[in-house]
Symmetry: D3
């Protein structure tokens, strides 16, 4: 189970409203490679992952990503909370606003509602960890692109923190695959699905 | 941010594999009225909800639902973890198995991947809390239907616990709407969107 | 069965083309809380709703919403029918135009095609009516937002009519839940699904 | 606007519950080529269709299809209304039941919620009428398949009526294209989009 | 099987970057009536199509459409490959860019990922060929709309080529239906599904 | 452009109809990790991939996967082409049959139409190649699961061939990442997006 601690993993303090930027950053809330997909992917893959340290790794990173989801929500909220209607008109935020006002809704930048089709839980440990490597790279690239499109230093400071965490996760998943391969080799079941066949 | 505690909110101990039942209960993991949608709905609605006690309520219930999501995942996992291939053939679990083996993936009972289109964050406090009342009733009905289709007492014991929690949440959201209406009346802004207009 | 009467429930007469506004108002045609979902939700819930007066209420409101769908279509049509290509370029209507010219297509403001995942028919009378309360509040909020973003009095006159009807429907669904609870209490089946258990 | 008449276009009287058959026929309620898509397609295409008789044809057929939607809902309802839980277990209706009890929900046979992506409104009269020809053939084929899979004469009697109506509609849309081509030739605008260019 | 030839069916040489235009033309890559759907529709319909010449026609046109898909990808690539970030900001390409940088991804103009719900394979030869007639008209209309919104002669030259091919395909599918009807009449099975009943 | 050669990459000769197996194997036609997604992913990623040998690799593998798509279609077709209606009733193929007869349609095993949300083109070479590693593992696992559920030697012979090709592709993508890293290091741009920044 989860316990909520009333603070963000890293502080978010944004003064300048910016609906254009909000309509881009929302993709890390509910976009194809965002934090919702990340946390749900890892927390779901736990069940069929053999070996306690790998299960624990997925739980740790999945839980941290829930905190990142909260941070991205805070960014979008702070970018849009004090908007006047005239600040919204003619911006790409307008199509979002009509359906969600300035609530935070898990959607792609394009407005497509988040779908679990963007993630996979395959029930094969090698496969799931490889999926996770790809997920971290995709999230990292999205943060790269946000940094290209944003010149708000308050925003970019947080985005750089989040981007850095994805790189750390990528490395940890890489180590996890190594560990898994070693364990599987010891049991002479290389290339089998250890969740099914052990 | 969130902290993980390594225990379930309520214990899940299921001995008898049952792929048919798993293919139904998965809907409370990733179905239209399941625990994923519940937690994400409440944790997302927090940002634009005025008044600290209402924001806190959404955080509390949203966090609890994350724990319920974990419990439902544990049920499905325990119902399918020791299956032999021949136990799967000819059951409705077979279509799930080909794409997810016995991993836990957020999907409707029908196999539709979860989509955020099943939930809404409207950015209007009255509206969001009414959405939450409906969500709790829909979850409660799904648990009713699971109880109709299951005769495994180990499963039903957990399902009844989860069903009861939805009823408690329904009542708390009802009280929250009352509280909100009182606060809004005091400020004489009844029927306005307090998130936009205060 | 349905009979068409060749007039709108409330007249729509818009002179000024406005592709920006059209790209917002389309969400009440085919968006997550629009008139298509409303009419289909109520007309579908009828079948399993016990008690003739409740079934009749769903039929009445569902049929009226079909007329609202028609009105919203007329608004979008009148806002876009005389557009020159140069009026479209650079507006958010351009992405819609390439795929639908100035036809009327049931889509979210974001361009997501309407999906039945945005509505629910749960087959439990209490639950379905609570879903309907939420639906009416969500539609009302969307109309609120359109009024915030539009300053065309011809449009706003119609939108205010439609918004007012949602409030009336909300009240009627509230009364319906009261009526249902009374009927269920008389039969001592409170909290059971009367569609299944009576 | 639409007026409801409290009778079906053609009577539906089914005695024998049949969850297997219900799980197939639901596709004509909310499947890719079902009556929901049909009515919404035609009623939406009206707005940009030039020439009153073509607009009228779309309105007539679209309104009739609303009545067919109602009839298909009645079939599914009558096939499932008196089911006991034990009649549902192990049938393909079980996955539907957990999320919708025996309510009527617009879904594919596979359980995919209906999506407007299955239909098109292109805003070009020739194109829209050709889309309609295809739609009628697709609906006709679905009814053919239902007849192959059903041996309930009460069901088949209604399905044959509905199938016959699709063939009539196909012919009427064929005549409409002829009429449109003649009108366009008179104005020497063949191959232009008359909705845009007249 | 397929062999790749390293040249485009028709040359694409675009000098001027244009993110606005790219965000429209992408709909012929992955939009509801684009080249992906076209090729996949025809190549999938082959299997159940009786008569070798019709199967061959579907294979020919389906393979050609794969080449058109490649050409449309080349157009979008050339319109976006040399963009500076400042050229993207404030254009409708920005929402695409955050998730795909300047990669080519199969999406509607609105940003909805391509879905097979936009096409049908009905397994009935008459129906599938009628679906194909509609598909060609819808693609033709999309190219019409692109021509209305583009004034880049390098782009328009290619679009006109692609548009012309859709018209040719429409005619060939029309002839195919004629051929099919003749063959079916000879066997006296008119209005039956020849894939099932011969 | 593509040229069709009228033979399969590897022969498919299946005698025994088997609708249950068809309803599983269809997932490699249009499922989340199937051949459609594979070919489209690689053929789309080509445009923004720097370095001719990597672009060529994506083209080669993408083209081969088109041939695999054709082979999987042939398997499903041969498993279902001679079915009598009574062979279909009560099998999981029935829900597919009502909407597609025995045509081949790109769908998940669950019946969800294929969606591009299951794949990504990120426009960053490192990221796209990592996505491809994950894609190959996911496809390999699906083939593993099909082998677990099938005991038809004619089917399994082909599935083993396809599975083996995924492993070869996985290795080639691994080598490609190595090559890419070396090239990027030489230019001292490690961790930048070479498609954007070179």
């Amino acid at each position: 189970m989860f316990v909520y601690q009333k603070k963000l993993q890293y502080p978010v303090k944004i003064d300048k409203p910016n609906p254009r930027l909000a309509s881009i950053i929302i993709s890390q809330y509910g976009g194809p490679d965002g934090e919702l997909g990340a946390s749900l992917r890892y927390l779901s893959q736990r069940y069929s992952m053999p070996f306690d340290e790998l299960k624990g790794l997925l739980t740790d990173i999945g839980t941290e990503e829930l905190g990142h989801l909260e941070m991205v929500g805070a960014i979008v909220h702070q970018l849009t909370r004090n908007l006047k209607t005239k600040d919204i008109e003619g911006t790409p935020f307008e199509q979002y606003f009509v359906d969600h006002t300035n609530g935070i809704y898990p959607t792609f930048a394009s407005g497509t509602p988040w779908t679990a089709a963007t993630m996979q839980v395959k029930g094969d440990p090698i496969t799931d960890l490889t999926e996770d490597l790809a997920a971290e790279q995709k999230a990292r690239t999205t943060y790269d692109n946000i940094l290209r499109l944003s010149d708000d230093p308050d925003v970019n400071d947080v985005i750089k923190f989040l981007r850095q965490r994805e790189i750390v996760h990528f490395q940890r998943f890489g180590e996890a695959i190594q560990l898994l391969r070693e364990k599987l080799d010891q049991k002479n079941v290389y290339r089998m699905n250890p969740a099914m066949d052990l």
